[in-house]
Amino acid sequence: MRRRGTIGLLAIVLLSFLVLESSEHNFYRTDYRGEDAHTALLVALRASCSDPGKANVKLQKISRYIYPVNFLSYNLNLLVNESSYDHGALVCRGYVVTNVGKDVFELQYSYKLVGLKVDPLTGRILRIYETSSYQVFKLASYSYAIKIKVYLKPLCAHDYVNGTLLAIKGNYPCTLMDKWGNKLVISGG
């Protein structure tokens, strides 16, 4: 009888322990995966693409805001920055290593000449370009990458053909700029 009582008592204690454990588990097991901190780091890289040398200063400036993620090292390169009359591209790629893992950022802007057209009103030649512009973010805590489409604003006289193709008036160079200040230049003819 006494043995049964002891076993029962032990079982109760064990059960209580399990309940506590699971509640503690609930308490600490948050679904928070540091999305904001990792994104903040990658956004700092994006802001540095026009001048990769400044990335370190920018990352240091935000490091106190991203607790508990610690940034350990980074790398940022402007891999391609070419522009000519018929094609051009801007590729900026970088990563940040944190105590959680590696976050990767990539920016890919490009254009290519697909044709010429005469403006029926003025008789001037329009250059028709196809542009592609997107950014990719891979957060360490996610198994997939996030790809976003970016609008490049032409800083010159322009028009759109079929809503997507860019028509540039005249033979002057034209700068395409995203809202974070990264520029892709279309050379003049």
Binding site: R2, S16, L20, D31, R33, I62, Y65
Partner: protein, 92 residues
């Protein structure tokens, strides 16, 4: 002996319940879901926002100024060389 066992069991169970209930497991879980959501919203806003249109994008995701009793998220946008930190609350 039996009374003693019952007393011990009662104490253990009561202590466990007190500990668990004082953690307010449900509310906390709910808060964590909300915190997760503010983190996700913050990430979304940061992906798409620049210094000029951050307010507009915050409005479009129903983010408000920090509210008492709601989880608060933070976003960072770059205005030139300086980071601008904006706090917000978000409610499902």
């Amino acid at each position: 002996m039996r009374t003693l066992s019952a007393a011990i069991i009662a104490i253990v169970v009561l202590l466990t319940l007190t500990r668990v209930s004082s953690h307010e497991v449900k509310t906390l879980t709910y808060n964590f879901i909300q915190a997760r959501n503010t983190a996700t919203i913050a990430a979304y806003v940061m992906l798409y926002a620049s210094c000029d249109d951050v307010d507009e994008i915050m409005r479009s995701v129903n983010a408000t100024a920090p509210l008492p009793d709601y989880p608060v998220g933070n976003i960072i946008v770059w205005c030139g060389e300086e980071p601008r930190v904006i706090s917000f609350s978000w409610k499902r």
